[in-house]
């Protein structure tokens, strides 16, 4: 079985940042693995500008940010394995890796889980009616639009005004779809003010506050939704062929869910908690990487240290 000192799962912004920091702090035996075909994680599909104000002082796109982070790993000995999925992690510090070239076990001393988060789906909401096609999470719609250059549909309603909802509303409209409205159950949009002012406000797309979707229609493809105004109880039937949901992100720790909290494990980025800004994910992950490096250094047996310690008490 192969071994490494530090294994980092996920090469999104957090994983790359943790890897660079750990390398800089002296870890020399470091593996960074990702199931995707290239590093970058969610950044790869964020083609809008708006990243990196704090770290770079200028606003760049997601892919630009990702290549910048990747350049930080060049000329290091970090071993980056893409198209390699971690299937499981066990309590005796082994990870099972799968790729087209084979299956292998990798032992490690410490693990940083930087696997990002997953989107809550419509299924988790108390929505009645049929279960038609044409319902997308915002992440799916974003990937479809930016990486596959396709529209999810033509007449689109967006449920949830988090950053992603506002970004996607503008993005879908710009790509030629008709975005009917953004519905939000709270009395204020959910995302950052700057995303509201940059994306939603100029788009002219109505923001329906204290409003949610309660029912879906359509036996094949979606044909409409029922909107409910939560204060008045008024219901409106909105014909549409697509619903994009932005109803929450959940840190994805499935890989270690049965393991408790062993001292060799730490979390970075959205896997730790959901970060609104990539800069904060990167900053947090850098310190997680550094801490992992010092924990590894502390656990190293330095044969010279014993006589030295002994000397202290003579």
């Amino acid at each position: 079985m192969e071994h490494c000192e530090l294994l980092i799962i996920g090469s999104g912004a957090a994983g790359m940042s943790a890897a660079a920091a750990a390398w800089k702090a002296g870890v020399r035996d470091l593996v960074l693995v990702d199931g995707a075909s290239a590093p970058g994680g969610i950044l790869r599909q964020c083609s809008h500008r708006g990243f990196g104000r704090a770290v770079f002082g200028s606003e760049i796109t997601g892919p630009e940010y990702a290549s910048f982070l990747l350049s930080g790993l060049q000329n290091t000995g970090v071993r980056l394995l893409t198209e390699t999925e971690v299937l499981s992690v066990t309590g005796n510090r082994r990870a099972l890796l799968s790729s087209r070239t084979g299956l292998r076990e990798l032992g490690f001393q410490r693990l940083i889980l930087a696997a990002g988060c997953r989107e809550r789906s419509i299924g988790s909401l108390p929505v009645t009616g049929t279960r038609p096609s044409g319902v997308f999470t915002a992440g799916q719609a974003q990937e479809l639009l930016n990486l596959r250059h396709r529209l999810p549909g033509r007449e689109i309603l967006i449920l949830g005004s988090g950053d992603l909802g506002m970004i996607m509303a503008a993005g879908l409209q710009e790509a030629g779809a008709h975005v009917i409205a953004v519905a939000e159950q709270e009395d204020h949009y959910g995302g950052l003010a700057r995303n509201y002012h940059r994306f939603l406000e100029p788009s002219g797309i109505p923001l329906l506050l204290r409003t949610t979707v309660t029912e879906l229609y359509g036996s094949g493809r979606l044909t409409g939704v029922l909107l409910r105004q939560l204060d008045t109880g008024a219901q409106t039937h909105i014909p549409c062929d697509t619903l994009v949901t932005v109803v929450g992100l959940i840190p994805d720790r499935t890989l270690v869910s049965g393991l408790g909290s062993p001292d060799w494990l730490s979390f970075a980025g959205n896997c730790h908690h959901v970060h609104e800004l990539v800069d904060s994910a990167v900053a947090e992950a850098a310190s997680v990487g550094r801490l992992a490096a010092s924990a590894l250094a502390a656990s190293k047996h330095d044969p010279d240290i014993f006589p030295e310690v002994r000397g202290l008490y003579r």
């Binding site: 299937l87 799968s98 789906s121």
Partner: protein, 479 residues
């Protein structure tokens, strides 16, 4: 016109198992299904319970078939290479009236020879299932109860029938049936077929299909019910199927720890439905009930809600029928009408019965070459390390993971398509893709290009479940 000994109408659980068992006889068998895939009707949504058999009146066909079906289920699933969990069931009572119902069911169970049945005290039940709300007054424990994935089972039966020479015609709706010399002419959306005998398993339409040629006294009155699914990480994991017998005699609740590791809750009962819509009243019934039974129930862990359709059989005067209705209006024509619970448990038994009767009508001899076994799609997540290494070495597609929640590789997806999946639901039914915590948010867009390429269609033409359920914006979806 193609000629067959027997035509089976309907590719649900009952039709697929009828076809499988007809292959035990020396007969040419045609299975006709209106939709694009099998297991898309009633069979696609049920409680997934393999019942022990104490619910029915001793001595009835339903009681004896359920006990027999249950007993044979382990072997059936081995033959068909489908995971089956004989987890046992606990039916709970929280008061004296329900206690009495459990005693009645216990007595019935003893008379029907349900194995291992016992009445246990509330305290014993709570010790067996620490996740229950305290205050159970008694429980009926049936160790023989189990659960299976109905999709996998139905598809496995169909595959086994095809391996044994049956022919499947999809997208084929039977429009009318005419008598002919020594048999019947079936006029369908895909042309005419001749069959010496017909087995009508048309589910919700079974009464109407019989009326295409014969009268039918029994009518199907559809109602629907709602279910909820909790994800694997819900921390709510009864080790038995939990059923509640409510004190007020109303609708109970099932909680089924599925073979996939999720928890299935439901169904509600409602009167309104002939469509697959989920109702608000139904959902809140299931949520409220689940909260009462399981203190650890949290709505946070709901990953899906869906509706099921019940085909309730009725007499002309509107009264409901409790037994299995097997109509036999003429030689060589049989209909199963309004088979609801426990149709899954009894699917193979009903198939054996129908095949035997039809074989007698046609004087068929047994088929010495019938092969009961079928191998499932090789599932990487179920293999040990060495076997999995070997699989990837032989075919790199088995190393490429596509669905993170359910651990599905490209190799498995391609195999499922090869075996007949033509929609996203087809992949879900064969592999579980889209059933996990993310409900397809991460894998769906990886599956679409694979389906499109393998089927030789554009990505815009890929559907969720056939018809107009297009996933992308349609033919003009490309930017």
């Amino acid at each position: 016109m193609e000629r067959f000994d027997v035509a089976v109408i309907g590719g649900g659980l009952l039709g697929c198992f009828a076809a499988r068992n007809l292959c035990r006889w020396d007969a040419s068998v045609l299975l006709l299904e209106a939709r694009e895939d099998v297991c898309t009707g009633i069979s696609r949504a049920n409680s997934a319970i393999i019942y022990p058999g104490y619910d029915h009146k001793p001595g009835t066909l339903k009681a004896s078939m359920t006990v027999r079906g249950n007993e044979a289920f382990g072997r059936l699933c081995e033959e068909l290479d489908v995971p089956f969990s004989r987890c046992g069931s606990l039916m709970l009572s929280y008061g004296p009236k329900a206690d009495a119902v459990l005693r009645l069911k216990y007595d019935r169970g003893l008379q029907s020879a349900v194995p291992g049945l016992s009445l246990v005290s509330g305290r014993e039940a709570e010790a067996m299932e620490p996740c229950l709300t305290p205050g159970v007054s008694s429980a009926l424990y049936a160790p023989s109860a189990g659960t299976v994935n109905p999709w996998e089972l139905c598809i496995a039966a169909c595959e086994n029938a095809l391996q044994n020479g049956a022919q499947l015609s999809l997208n084929t709706s039977v429009l009318s049936i005419r008598p002919e010399q020594d048999g019947y002419r079936l006029i369908t959306t895909q042309g005419d077929f001749f069959a010496r005998a017909i087995v009508n398993c048309a589910g919700m339409q079974a009464d109407q299909v019989q009326r295409l040629i014969f009268p039918c006294d029994v009518s199907i009155h559809p109602t629907s019910g709602d279910y909820l699914i909790l994800d694997r990480d819900a921390g709510l994991h009864p080790s038995h199927i939990i059923q509640v017998e409510p004190e007020d005699g109303g609708k109970g609740l099932n909680a089924v720890p599925t073979v996939e590791g999720s928890l299935l809750l439901g169904p509600s009962e409602r009167e309104n439905g002939i469509d697959w819509s989920v109702s608000e009243a139904g959902l809140s019934f299931v949520r409220r009930f689940a909260g009462q039974v399981f203190p650890g129930f949290s709505e946070e862990h709901i990953i899906r809600s869906f509706a099921a359709l019940r085909p309730n059989p009725q007499r002309p005067d509107g009264s409901s029928i409790g037994t299995f209705v097997i109509e036999h209006p003429a030689p060589g024509f049989r209909s199963l009408i309004g088979v609801k619970t426990p149709g899954l448990t009894c699917a193979d038994q009903l198939g054996i019965y129908l095949a035997g009767e039809t074989a007698a009508d046609l004087r068929l001899s047994p088929n010495p070459d019938f092969f009961p076994g079928r191998s499932g799609i090789p599932r990487m997540k179920r293999l040990g390390f060495d076997a999995r290494c070997k699989a990837v070495r032989q075919n790199p597609d088995f190393g490429e993971l596509l669905c993170r929640c359910e651990g599905i590789t490209r190799g498995e997806v391609l195999e499922a398509i090869h075996r007949g999946a033509v929609t996203l639901d087809g992949l879900k039914h064969r592999l579980g893709a889209g059933m996990g915590p993310c409900q397809g948010a991460r894998c769906r867009q990886k599956l679409i290009p694979i389906l499109a390429e393998a089927l030789g269609i554009s990505e815009e033409a890929v559907t969720q479940s056939g018809g107009d359920s297009l996933v992308y914006g349609g033919a003009d979806g490309t930017l």
